[in-house]
Point group: C2
Chain length 207, copies 2
C-alpha cells in the first residue's frame, strides 16, 4: 500500500526532526504499511469490481503482523488512566517503547477499521495517552476515501476525519491515509470479517 | 429527571458567572431536563423490570420539545466549517443564539442517545464549533450509568465518557448526567425507536 495522505502535527514534526526514536517509529510504521502487498507482487492491487466488495481487516492484519513480528511492537497496551476498563476505551491497539528501559520513548498506534464514530473514539483515546504522559507520540492509520469505497461498508476514511485534525494541533500526532497502488476488477477479493484469517497469536503487552 | 452528575469546565464556569446569556442557556437546559416527567406526576419514574427495557429516544424528545417550543431553541444548525456535510459530522443537534442579533452568544447542545463511539463524535463536533468560533458554549446531555442500565442496549452513559472530559478542560463545555427520580417495576415502559412518537415538526434552523 501507498501512504498518499498524511497529517503530521507541528509538535510531531519537531519531535521527529530531533528524536531518532520518533524517526524510527515513523519509519517502522511507514514500512509496515508499504509491505502490505498482493501475493507474488511488490505492490497492492485492490479488487474494484463493486462498492464495499473487500474486507478491511486482512489489510490491518498484514500491517500488524509486520509491526509485531519484524519490528517487535506489542498489542493491547492498557492505559493506566483508563484502569484497563474496556468500557472506557480499551487498550491501545499497538504499542512500542524505544530506547532506554528506564526512560523509554513510548509510541501508540491504532489502525482504524471501524466507522467514523469509532475513529473519533480511537483519536480521543490516543490523546488521553498523550495528555497523561503514557504516550510520547501517537499514530492513526486509515484508508483514504478512494480506497474505502471498495472496503467494508461504513469503514471510516482519512478525508472524513480530516476536519477534526484541528483537535490534534497541540499533540504529537501523526495520521496516515493509505491507498492501493493499483485497482483491478480481477484482483483477489479481501475476505470480510475473520474469514480465512490465520489464527496467529498476537504479541500481547505484559508488564 | 434529575441532573445527578455534572461537569463544568473552568472556562465554562467563568463564563456562566459573568455572562447572563450563558446563565440563561444553562437554566433553560436544566429546566428542560427537569421537565421530563411521567404522566400525571411532577417527577420521572423509570421502569426497572429488566435490563435495557426502555427506549431512550422518548426522553430526548421530551427535552427537545421543551427547548424548541418553550425556550425557542433551533434544531440542526450546520457548522460552516464542516460544510454542511453529513459525512463529516452533520449539524449541531440543538442551537440557540442569545442577546444581540449582530453579536449573539451562541450555544450548541447534543443529547446523546447513541453508543460510546457516537458520544466521542458528538463531543468532538461540539469542540470544532467552539474552536472555530461558531459556538461560544457547548453542552452535552447523557444518562447516568445507573439509568442507562434500563435504557436501550449500548447507549452511552456519563460515567463512560467521564475519563475523556480532560479533552474539554480548555473549552467552555458543560456535560450533564441525568437520572430518574424513582425506579419501579410497574412504571410505563418507554417505547424503543420511534414507536408511538408523535410526528411533531422540528423547529429547524434556517438562515
Amino acid at each position: 500500500m501507498l501512504i498518499t495522505k498524511e497529517y503530521i502535527s507541528p509538535i510531531a514534526l519537531e519531535i521527529i526532526e530531533q528524536n531518532p526514536y520518533a524517526q524510527s517509529a515513523v519509519f517502522e510504521v511507514r514500512d509496515s504499511i508499504g509491505s502490505i502487498v498482493s501475493r507474488n507482487l511488490s505492490y497492492f492491487v485492490v479488487n474494484c469490481s463493486a462498492k464495499n466488495c473487500n474486507g478491511v481487516v486482512p489489510i490491518k492484519e498484514k500491517c500488524y503482523a509486520k509491526l509485531e513480528e519484524y519490528y517487535l511492537w506489542y498489542r493491547e497496551k492498557p492505559l493506566d488512566y483508563l484502569h484497563n476498563d474496556q468500557q472506557k476505551g480499551g487498550p491501545i491497539d499497538v504499542y512500542k517503547e524505544f530506547g532506554l528501559a528506564a526512560d523509554p520513548f513510548k509510541v501508540g498506534l491504532e489502525f482504524e477499521t471501524g466507522n467514523i464514530s469509532s475513529a473519533h473514539r480511537s483519536m480521543n483515546k490516543l490523546k488521553v495517552g498523550l495528555i497523561k504522559g503514557e504516550l510520547d507520540m501517537a499514530m492513526l492509520i486509515m484508508p483514504t476515501k478512494q480506497l474505502s469505497y471498495y472496503l467494508t461498508d461504513r469503514v471510516s476514511n482519512y478525508e472524513e476525519l480530516q476536519p477534526y485534525f484541528l483537535h490534534l494541533e497541540d499533540s504529537p500526532f501523526v495520521v496516515f491515509g493509505f491507498d492501493a497502488e493499483e485497482y483491478s476488477s480481477t484482483a483477489d477479493l479481501l475476505p470480510k470479517g475473520r474469514d480465512g484469517m490465520s489464527d496467529r497469536s498476537i504479541r500481547k503487552w505484559r508488564q
